[in-house]
Amino acid sequence: MLEVRDVTAGYDGVPVLRNVSLTVGKGELVGLLGANNAGKSTLINVLSGIVPVMSGAILFEGQDIAAMSAPRRVDAGVVQVPEGRLVFPQMTVRENLLLGGVNSTARPNRSRALEHVLSLFPRLGERMEQKAGTLSGGEQQMVALGRGLMAGARLLMLDEPSLGLSPLFVQFIFGIIDKLHAEGLTILLVEQNLALTLKHADRCYVLERGVVAVEGRAEVVRDDPRTRAAYLGM
C-alpha cells in the first residue's frame, strides 16, 4: 500500500533522513522505532507532506505522492494522528471530530464515521459538548484518534500515541489500535516504547540517526542486537 523509496528529507537543506526505504502492506501494522532524534517524526511528517522530500519517491497505492500537498494526501487517505494530540482546545469534542471529516473524501460519510468513532470511544459521546482543551490527556488522545478516523484514513499514522498517558490509558489505546488493525486498517505506528510496539506490530523498522538500522518481523527486530544499540547509541 505504501512504499517509501530512498527518501532523503530534512529541514532548511540539512538532511535528517538519508535514503530511507520502507514498505507497509495493506492491512499491516508496522512499527517505526528509534531513540529520540532518530528521525521517526520527520519521516511521518514527510509522509504527511509537512516536510518536503529532497530526493526519492513515496508511492501510495502505486501513485507517487511525494509532490502532493498535505491536504491532498489527507484526501487520498494518508492521515496522521500527531504527537502531543494537538486537539483544537477551544472547540468542543463534536467540533474536533467534525473537523476531522472536513476533507472532500471523508465529508460524505461523516455521520457513519462519527457513529463508528463513538462506538470505539463511548466516553467521547458523554463529552461531545465539552471543550477539548478541558479534557484529560487520555480523553484528548481519544479525540485525536477519533479525528484521524473521521478523516477517512486508509493509512493511519500514529505518532507516539502512548506519550504522557497513564498505563491504564496506554492499554486502552493499544486495545483500540489492535481492534482497528483487526478491522483491516493499515497502520504505521511511531513509538519510543520498544516492548509495546514489538508486542502489537506485524513488522518493525528501527531508525538510527536518519537511516534504517534494522527491519523485519517483530520477533526478529527484538532479537537483533542492533536494535538495542540503536536505542542506547552504542
Binding site: S48, A70, P71, V74, V79, L86, V87, F88, Q90, V102
Partner: protein
C-alpha cells in the same frame, strides 16, 4: 440630560460600526497573527471607491457595496498572497513596517487620485431622521447599527456552525493539526484576510453617508479600530462589539461635553482606564 441621551444613542449606533471594523481586524489577527496597520486606509479606500461610483454613475453608497465588496475582497486576497504571506511568521516589526508602508501607499494613491480636500458622498437616507422621544436618530446611523450587528451575527454563525468557519477556527488554534486534517492552511489564511478586507468595504459604505472624508484619515481609523480590538479581547466577538460601543459612546459624549481636543482624547483616556483594571479585555474569562 437630553444631550447626554442623544450622545449615547448616536455613539452606540456609530460604535457598532467601529465594532464591525475591529471584527475584521480580529479575524485576520486570529488566523495569521497579523495586526494590519493599513486597516483604516482600506476603509478609506472603500469610501473613495463608493465616492467614485457615485461621481461616475450616481450610485448610492449602499448600492455601491455590490461592486466595492468583491473588489476589496479580491484586493485583500492579492495583498495577503503577494505582500503579507512572504513575510508572515517573520519578526513582528517587519509586518508592522510592511502594513505601515501599505498605509502610506494607499494614502498617497488616494491623494493623487482624489485630491486632499474633504469630500462628502450623499446617500438616499442621509437626511432621513427618526424621532423617538427626545432623541433624534439619523437614518444612516440606524442602518449602520442594524447592518453591523446583523453582519457580526452572520459572521459568528459562519464561524461556529459551518465547515469553513470551523476550518478558520482550527487554523487559529492549531494550524499544524488543521493541516494534518486536510485543511489548506495557506488558503484559509488568504481567504480570512480577504474576508477581513471585504468587511471593511461594507463598513466603509455604512460610515460614509454624511461623513466628510479625507485620504489621510486612515491612521485615525486604524487607531480607533485598535482600541476597540484590544478592549474586546482581540478575538472575542461579543467583547469586540461591546468595545466598539464603548469607544463610540465615549467619542460622542466627549464631543458634546468637552472642548474639541479633550473630547477627541476621551476614548483614549477610557481605553487606558479600562486597560489598567481589565487588561484582558472587557468580557474575557479565564
Amino acid at each position: 440630560m437630553e444631550e447626554l441621551l442623544q450622545a449615547i444613542v448616536q455613539g452606540f449606533f456609530v460604535g457598532s460600526t467601529y465594532g464591525l471594523l475591529a471584527l475584521g481586524m480580529g479575524l485576520v489577527y486570529g488566523v495569521s497573527g497579523i495586526v494590519n496597520f493599513s486597516h483604516g486606509d482600506f476603509v478609506t479606500l472603500g469610501m473613495y471607491l463608493c465616492l467614485a461610483l457615485f461621481s461616475a454613475f450616481a450610485l448610492d453608497p449602499y448600492v455601491s457595496i455590490i461592486v466595492v465588496l468583491p473588489v476589496m475582497t479580491l484586493l485583500g486576497a492579492i495583498v495577503y498572497q503577494y505582500l503579507i504571506r512572504p513575510i508572515a511568521g517573520r519578526h513582528l516589526l517587519m509586518i508592522i513596517q510592511l502594513t505601515l508602508g501599505l498605509s502610506l501607499l494607499l494614502q498617497n494613491a488616494l491623494m493623487m487620485t482624489f485630491g486632499g480636500q474633504p469630500t462628502r458622498t450623499p446617500s438616499m437616507i442621509e437626511s432621513k431622521l427618526f424621532i423617538v422621544g427626545d432623541v433624534v436618530i439619523r437614518g444612516s446611523h440606524l442602518v449602520a447599527c442594524i447592518s453591523s450587528f446583523a453582519l457580526a451575527f452572520l459572521l459568528y454563525f459562519v464561524l461556529q456552525s459551518t465547515d469553513v468557519g470551523r476550518s478558520i477556527r482550527a487554523v487559529q488554534q492549531e494550524p499544524r493539526a488543521a493541516a494534518l486534517m486536510g485543511v489548506d492552511v495557506g488558503r484559509v489564511q488568504v481567504m480570512t484576510f480577504a474576508i477581513g478586507i471585504g468587511i471593511l468595504a461594507i463598513a466603509a459604505a455604512l460610515l460614509l453617508p454624511g461623513l466628510p472624508i479625507q485620504p489621510n484619515q486612515g491612521l485615525r481609523l486604524t487607531v480607533i479600530t485598535l482600541l476597540v480590538f484590544v478592549l474586546g479581547g482581540m478575538t472575542n466577538f461579543v467583547g469586540i462589539m461591546l468595545g466598539g460601543v464603548v469607544i463610540g459612546v465615549a467619542e460622542a459624549v466627549g464631543t458634546i461635553y468637552m472642548t474639541e481636543v479633550l473630547g477627541q482624547l476621551l476614548p483614549y483616556l477610557i481605553f487606558i482606564a479600562i486597560m489598567l483594571f481589565r487588561p484582558q479585555g472587557l468580557v474575557w474569562r479565564s
